[in-house]
Symmetry: C2
Subunit: 342 residues, 2 copies
DNA sequence: CCCTGGCACTCGCGTCAGTCGAGTGCCAGT
DNA sequence: ACTGGCACTCGACTGACGCGAGTGCCAGGG
């Protein structure tokens, strides 16, 4: 039994996407039958194309030009048509080589974003592990001379946050030890989001004259937890945008602007849904951002067992090679997760 | 006495630079006399222009086009002809508003780079205060449970570096106090570059069984001082490159590539000479980098009294508004220095 | 019923010739 | 030393035109 018409239509869409991604030129019916063994004539393909256009999956830039996939067409391609391309051995090796040997969290993130950019030849985005989802490994209070105290908070992701606070007077070692002990007892192993409520009653456990000190320390800790500084993002490969310059009919300016507004990026990443394999894709207008109307984002969570600690992503033109990009993002996310688990 | 011909030639160069920067179009003799009150006829200007071209200060892109300054022309303009434009009150106010209220070093740097990008509408580059030129404010050793030790190093710029080290066994508090005291006595107030030699004899001051611990701690400190991580650079305003897209005849790709290679940028910044007012300028080929052949860098040191701790810079097309840019860079550098001094 | 070959039509793109005008270099004159 | 005049160059713009890729439609065949 021959393929049903509807099946063939989807095959045509897939062929159009693949050809267009490769050639960057509108693809016509004739070229399509030549490059793919569809077993039918150009005229038939034309009918299918007309139907696909009717459905809003493809469009023609000019009346006498070939067809180009629409955002909706890419969406269908990504959801239904693509078979994820496994990475080559060389690529797997490259990931390992590039990521191994990182000395600390900063280094891991740095290497990750570079690896992703190199691998996909597009813009890579990595969000720092969110403090709000991490747990407390240890809190330390260090007198650093005079009435100054260094408050250090270490998380299970290896992240170290510190603040210098001014306390009224030089605290004595015994009091400090007491505060340190109670503080750690209260928060170690707990999620950072819960810290604020967990330590709320702490000042009451101390004498009136010491409460001020305790409060100051707690304020510093809560300050460290304020999202703004923690929800940082690191970029790499922005030069790749210019390389595929013709991909953005406007200038790449709007895209660069979005990339600089970390808030926008963070919102985008945090709101993305992920499929079963842990990868999410936003295409063109789905990003709900004018500057990204010609861009697509492929993201995946990383770190953490159940819920990911943070996300990493690749941003490129909508006409990107989705199978390869998705495979790369997934592989890197998994590898980084494994490293962070150590 | 009328202006000497040679003086007028330079006035013509200045006029060409100013017009070209403003219009972004080759400027001809007729337009020049119309827009500037040079008091001579176009024909005379043409002669001067021919002489300037002879000297390699200007060039014509096409035989029948106006003249455009060469790198050499810009250089002369910057060195001899420009009168630095003082910032407007609004701009000064903007700098203060944007920079005040920073909570820590990261925040200061972050605000600085954004301010500079906003002010100049170009790409801003800020180098983190170099550790090698800073001095030690304090070293702290913190046991964080088990055989692990947190080594914290605080510099006079407010920078905090930390490492977690594994020591053989859980060290007792007394020994730790001893190490801490001797270490601090040896290095506080000293330059980071001198730390390594200053602590070289430290292990010998301890019993054989403790030397291993001391050595491990010292290694961690020296590790923290390795340049690679410290010589970091922060960027902002890359989208401005695209805005002035037509300024780069090629694509802006090569420029973005250079901006991503922090090593190249660092080398560039560190090797720049500065004039009496503390500002240095590199124009086009002077950057000795192909990707920047159409770009200029305006840099200034900041922080520190005698020698600057680090540099900040603005990068834009060679046809930038030098007087304004130089004024902005200088003002921001001074303001940041003042903040860091506190 | 679906597919096919054929055919007329559309329309973007590259080419080419021609014109226009800005800008130049040179020269003779004051 | 400066100026006005003049011939010349050459890039930018314009409109005409042919080419070719691609389409939509239609009638005919398995």
């Amino acid at each position: 039994m021959a393929a049903l018409p509807d099946d063939r239509r989807l095959a045509v869409l897939r062929a159009i996407v693949e050809d267009y991604v490769q050639t960057h030129e509108p693809v016509g019916s004739k070229a399509l039958v030549e490059r793919h063994s569809l077993g039918v004539s150009p005229a038939t393909i034309r009918n299918d194309m007309a139907a696909l256009e009717e459905d809003g999956l493809i469009a023609q830039p000019h009346t006498s030009a070939g067809r180009v996939p629409t955002d909706k067409g890419y969406r269908l391609f990504v959801d239904k048509l693509q078979s994820v391309k496994p990475l080559s051995a060389a690529e797997k090796k490259a990931i390992q080589t590039l990521l191994d040997g990182a000395v600390d969290l900063d280094d891991v993130i740095d290497r990750t974003v570079r690896t992703l950019a190199t691998l996909t030849r597009q813009v890579a985005v990595v969000q720092y592990p969110s403090l709000t989802r991490s747990t407390v490994r240890h809190v330390e209070l260090v007198p650093i001379g005079g009435p100054r105290l260094l408050v250090v908070l270490i998380t299970n992701t290896g992240r170290v946050e510190q603040r210098v606070v001014e306390v009224g007077a030089e605290p004595n070692e015994a009091l400090l030890g007491e505060v340190r002990a109670r503080l750690n007892a209260a928060v170690i192993g707990k999620r950072l989001t819960d810290v604020a409520s967990l330590v709320a009653t702490l000042p009451e456990q101390f004498g009136a004259e010491d409460r001020e000190l305790v409060r100051t320390v707690l304020e510093a800790i809560e300050d460290s937890l304020a999202i703004e500084r923690e929800e940082r993002i690191v970029l790499a490969g922005t030069a790749n945008l210019a390389r595929s310059g013709t991909d953005f009919v406007g200038s790449i300016g709007p895209v660069l602007e979005v990339l600089e507004q970390q808030v926008v990026l963070l919102k985008l990443l945090s709101e993305m849904a992920e499929d079963a394999s842990g990868v999410g894709v936003l295409i063109g207008h789905e990003t709900a951002h004018a500057g990204l109307s010609e861009a697509a984002v492929v993201a995946s969570g990383y770190g953490g067992q159940g819920e990911p600690l943070a996300r990493l992503a690749v941003l490129g033109p909508t006409r990107m090679d989705y199978p390869t990009t998705i495979a790369a993002v997934r592989a890197v996310a998994r590898y980084v997760s494994r490293i962070l688990a150590q």
